[in-house]
């Protein structure tokens, strides 16, 4: 059967003399069912090709073209590129012959060796995880290259069924279509399947296509950067404020679309929480700044939102933008939205204090800050801490109530909840210490900047360091490297500026 198709396709394409075969960009918009979710092909292509190769361009082809051509190769059509994948772990590099990039065609030949190495590693280690990641990449690659990954809808009298592309193109279908018109019969039949699907199925995937094409995270990052630059470099508050408002609007659109597509609050994975905390922090900062008539809040909000948008745009390995189905226990929109939103907003508010604390430290190191000014700005920090702490306490309690309501215990010493309590306790210790005057004005910003490391631990560390367990040290994964660098740099800043523990007198 496949053999017959092979003959026709070769015949057809040899006469057409194109090397993009049926990979017309118009098919980007077609629906696909993969990973438990309906989405446009272009989104799925980006998810899998980026996962496989770590790149968004391969030999000049975008992810959609790469995905489509690779699927086309299942019909025996030759493709003139070889996909490579990064080899991350040291031991895996050694196993595959001291390489840090390897072609999938070569990788497949070594599948057996990889499997043997994987089975010989008795304990879960960074190496073993990397090997199993390699094996799953091999499977995914094979799945695509065999034409099994691209699922095409077929409308059988209102009932939608999904078939892989290598079964979708039957000899009869192609022959019939190529007889009728001069159009590419493959493209035509795929477009036809989309039309039939649209007549019967769910159309949210079309929204996702627009969402995908708009590239709003990048736009909002640029807007945020302009706002920040006008404030810090050009000292023009009005322009900064206008751009902040536009940034917020763009991010609101982005988040709203995400909510429409996923059908849930945009706070269910690391990518979304980082995005939401930056956005929330900017909104909170603008509101507080407005009522307190203090412009520095806008600076804090912009600076933090920019940090989070940088991560959103560039930390692909750590923050995965894919929308995927939730585990059953989280499928409760009310609790999810209230509890997680409160916690993430509190992290955002605490991040505002972290930005200003570091600004004070750096300012003191390179220039001067009078004790009166430091007192004043400590008070600004204190204001954002107030919001952060109240929301954190409320969020922890909401989490307890949710846990109690869903599985019958208010508190279970689970690492995530314990770490959020640690964060609360550390900030409470700082606040109590400030009341006793144990913590002097000059020390406050250092402690606040340091305390934010506990937030990072609760937020990222529990997922990237604690969740991996005893045998997965090695810090081979993106998240752990990021967190390690964050702790390192923050500690370094605190150590370098420790001589500035005393405020220099203003001249």
């Amino acid at each position: 059967m496949l053999y017959k198709i092979l003959i026709i396709t070769t015949l057809l394409f040899s006469t057409m003399a194109q090397d993009s075969y049926f990979c017309d960009p118009i098919l980007e918009k077609n629906p696909i069912l993969q990973g438990g979710r309906l989405k446009p092909v272009v989104v799925h292509a980006q998810e899998v090709i980026k996962h496989l190769t770590g790149k968004s361009k391969n030999s000049g082809n975008n992810t959609y073209m790469t995905y489509c051509l690779l699927s086309a190769s299942s019909f025996g059509l030759p493709i003139d590129f070889k996909l490579t994948t990064p080899v991350e772990h040291k031991n895996t590099q050694k196993l595959l012959g001291d390489v840090n990039q390897i072609r999938f065609t070569d990788l497949i030949e070594k599948e057996r060796e990889i499997r043997v190495a994987h089975n010989t590693e008795k304990f879960q280690s960074g190496y073993k995880k990397d090997l199993s990641k390699m094996l799953s990449k091999i499977n995914l690659y094979k799945d695509i290259a065999r034409g099994n990954n691209w699922m095409v809808p077929q409308n059988n009298g209102g009932e939608i069924s999904w078939v892989p592309i290598n079964q979708f193109f039957t000899k009869e279908k192609i022959m019939a279509l190529s007889r009728d018109s001069k159009e590419n019969p493959f493209v035509k039949s795929l477009l036809e399947s989309k039309r039939e699907f649209d007549a019967a199925g769910d159309l949210t995937y079309q929204t996702e296509y627009i969402f995908h094409k708009m590239r709003l995270p990048l736009i909002s990052m640029i807007l945020c950067l302009i706002a920040l630059a006008s404030l810090v470099l050009f000292k023009n508050f009005k322009i900064a404020l206008s751009f902040s408002v536009i940034t917020v609007i763009v991010q609101t659109v982005y988040l709203t679309l995400r909510v429409i597509i996923s059908g849930r609050a945009p706070i269910t994975n690391m990518y979304e929480t980082v995005l939401f905390s930056g956005y929330g922090a900017l909104v909170i900062a603008m509101i507080i700044g407005h009522f307190k008539k203090e412009k520095v809040f806008v600076y804090m909000g912009l600076a933090y939102n920019f940090c989070s948008l940088m991560m959103i745009n560039f930390a692909y390995g750590m923050l995965n933008p894919n929308i995927s189905p939730l585990v059953p226990v989280l499928r409760d929109n009310f609790w999810l939205s209230t509890h997680v939103t409160t916690i993430i907003l509190s992290y955002g508010a605490l991040a505002l204090s972290w930005i200003l604390a570091n600004t004070i430290i750096v300012k003191k190191f390179f220039s001067k800050l009078s004790i009166k000014d430091e007192n004043y700005y400590n008070d600004v920090i204190y204001t954002s801490l107030k919001y952060g702490i109240v929301m954190l306490a409320a969020g922890i309690i909401l989490g307890g109530v949710w846990a109690d309501y869903s599985w019958g215990r208010f508190w279970g010493w689970d690492p995530k909840e314990t770490w959020s309590l640690i964060v609360l306790c550390l900030y409470m210790a700082i606040l109590h210490g400030k009341y006793t005057n144990w913590i002097k004005t000059q020390h406050f910003s250092h402690l606040v900047a340091g305390a934010f490391m506990s937030v990072m631990m609760a937020w990222f560390g529990v997922n990237y360091i604690l969740a991996s367990g005893l045998h997965s040290y090695g810090f081979s994964e993106g998240g752990a490297i990021f967190l390690g660098s964050f702790f390192g740099i923050q500690t370094l800043i605190l150590l370098i500026t420790i001589k500035n523990f005393k405020t220099k007198a203003a001249q």
Partner: protein, 543 residues
């Protein structure tokens, strides 16, 4: 006395004490989360979270909060928020204490369609049951992270050591059973099967006490069967019919040819033969079943004979091991190959370049397992090492190991006594039956999207139908049942459901405290707004 109390109240209620106790509490929690991540939840609970030391710290936090409030009375307007926050925290503390003292937290496992009322709690106990005397005793085991020498006694039974986290360790030891005279019946061996890509060692045993070792296994396409050595010589004998009979009374084998027994065919072409022994006739359909049948073709359960048809093992790779010997059918030469092996000799096998060697053998010695105390290891959220619990029981002069996997059955003064290492259980005043279990999957995948249990609740005045699923618990008679997990029977494919069961009298108190805490903190911040002045803007902006 009042002076001393005032002094203590002032000390403990001071801000400095508060900072110190908060920091100690935080440090213990930080250690706890790392311990939890490496060694698992249970170990962390036993080492930190549920220890008297950690509870003591919480108690001092409670005192600190309480005394801090007392020392700031009579009430000042500036501190209204503060009072509410601290009252909230004290209330949460009281609520948690009530839960700790009176609450129940356990799980109930519901197999399909069978009424259940037993809730399993999280305390390890030893249960001693003497069915004839109708007695049942429950001994609580200590909540400790490490092994402990305990001396709990119950009659003649003494619990000596307790390992909360253990693994099985195999030691080749001599059996204490002396009844078997012949050695070709209870042997055990360890082999290594290797080719350039894979190396696998495995132990097979026929010893009745080697519970953890089987006598057959599969490795990919290869089947391996461990047979008594006494059967080996029949594999070597010339055997036209290819049928071997094993006499389990004499512990020896013979072929049909030796006894001149004719094989006949049934009308449907199946081979059959009959064996006369001590006046009884045993008939066999050797290609269908090894068991003997009587005249009416019903299996004879107490027959000493079993038939072994070699023809059945010609098609697929099948290796027979007899301790110090092996046999297999070689497809190329169309012959049965049999060979002796020993600890030095390696044998080439005809499949995938495999080579077999023997690394250990015992005619009487067997791979017996003993518990060994370990530090648990957690991987991907579940404990992979240290799941065994063990206790050493001494009855008069004899010591026994008891594990949570295998109960002990002893005869003490002629009375049958069963000893279990298990979890404490609680019987519900009503019964639950799982009538249906439903699992939805994410479209196009095998990932569960939701799981739901339909249960029948039997109470004194009739029964009720309930539907329990994630975020929708069943509340009845002070108990709350939550959908926790499920399991599937690999044979029947039927689902069982596990619900977590909970009684929490402290709940409303904790909720009240939480409300006070949140509103108190908002009030506090609103009462303490102050405005400061600056000289220069930190960003250099004009005012």
């Amino acid at each position: 006395m009042t002076e001393l109390y005032n002094k203590i109240e002032k000390k403990i209620g001071s801000l400095k004490f508060a900072v110190i106790i908060i920091v100690i509490f935080s440090v213990m929690m930080i250690i706890g989360t790392f311990v939890e991540s490496y060694y698992g939840t249970d170990f962390a609970n036993r080492l930190i979270y549920k220890t008297p030391a950690f509870m003591g710290v919480q108690f001092f936090m409670f005192l600190s909060i309480l005394f801090a409030t007392f020392t700031r009375l009579p009430a000042k307007k500036r501190l209204y928020g503060f009072y509410v926050i601290h009252t909230g925290l004290i209330t949460i503390g009281i609520g948690s204490f009530v839960t700790y003292i009176a609450g129940i937290d356990g799980t109930i496992h519901l197999p399909p369609n069978s009424p259940t009322r037993t809730v399993v709690l999280n305390t390890d106990v030893i249960e001693i049951i003497a069915p004839e005397k109708n007695t049942r005793a429950t001994l609580n085991l200590p909540y400790t992270p490490f092994d402990k020498n305990i001396g709990i006694e119950y009659g003649d039974i003494k619990v000596e050591d307790y390992y909360p986290f253990a693994e099985k360790e195999t030691k080749w030891a001599k059996s204490e059973t002396k009844k078997t005279e012949k050695l070709n019946f209870i042997h055990s061996s360890t082999y290594v099967l290797a080719n350039p890509n894979v190396t696998q060692d495995f132990t097979l045993s026929l010893h009745p006490e080697a519970f953890d070792y089987k006598s057959s296994m599969t490795m990919g396409l290869l089947n391996i069967t461990y047979l008594p050595y006494g059967m080996f010589n029949c594999f070597q004998k010339k055997n036209q019919s290819g049928i071997i009979i094993w006499d389990s009374k004499k512990e020896e084998c013979f072929t049909l040819d030796e006894k001149n027994i004719q094989v006949q065919k049934t009308s449907s072409g199946k081979r059959f033969f009959a064996l006369n022994h001590e006046g009884l006739v045993y008939s066999f359909l050797p290609d269908l079943s090894p068991w003997a049948m009587d005249v009416e073709l019903k299996p004879i359960m107490n027959s000493p004979f079993r038939a072994f048809s070699m023809d059945l093992f010609k098609d697929k790779p099948h290796l027979f091991l007899f301790g110090k010997a092996l046999a297999y059918f070689d497809k190329d030469s169309e012959k049965w190959i049999s060979e002796n092996i020993n600890l030095e000799k390696k044998v080439d096998l005809p499949w995938m370049g495999f080579e077999l060697s023997m690394t250990n053998h015992g005619d009487r010695k067997a791979p017996l397992t003993f518990p060994k105390k370990v530090l648990p290891v957690q991987e991907n959220g579940s404990v992979v090492i240290g799941n065994l619990k063990a206790a050493r029981i001494k009855v008069r002069d004899q010591s026994y190991w008891l594990t949570n996997e295998k109960p002990l059955n002893l005869l003490i003064d002629g009375v049958e006594t069963r000893i279990y290492l298990t979890k404490k259980s609680h019987n519900l005043p009503f019964e639950l039956t799982l009538t249906k279990f439903k699992m939805d999957k994410d479209p196009g995948t095998n990932n569960p999207a939701s799981y739901e249990s339909f249960v029948n609740l039997f109470k004194k005045d009739g029964n009720e139908q309930h539907h329990v699923f994630m975020n929708n618990p069943l509340k009845f008679d002070g108990f709350t049942f939550y959908q926790a997990s499920y399991s599937q029977d690999p044979d029947s494919g039927q689902y069982s459901s596990t619900l977590s069961v909970n009684v929490d009298q402290g709940r409303p108190i904790k909720y009240l405290g939480s409300l006070l805490l949140v509103f108190g903190s908002m009030w506090h911040w609103m009462l303490n707004r102050r405005r400061k002045k600056k000289d220069n803007d930190i960003l250099g902006l004009e005012e």
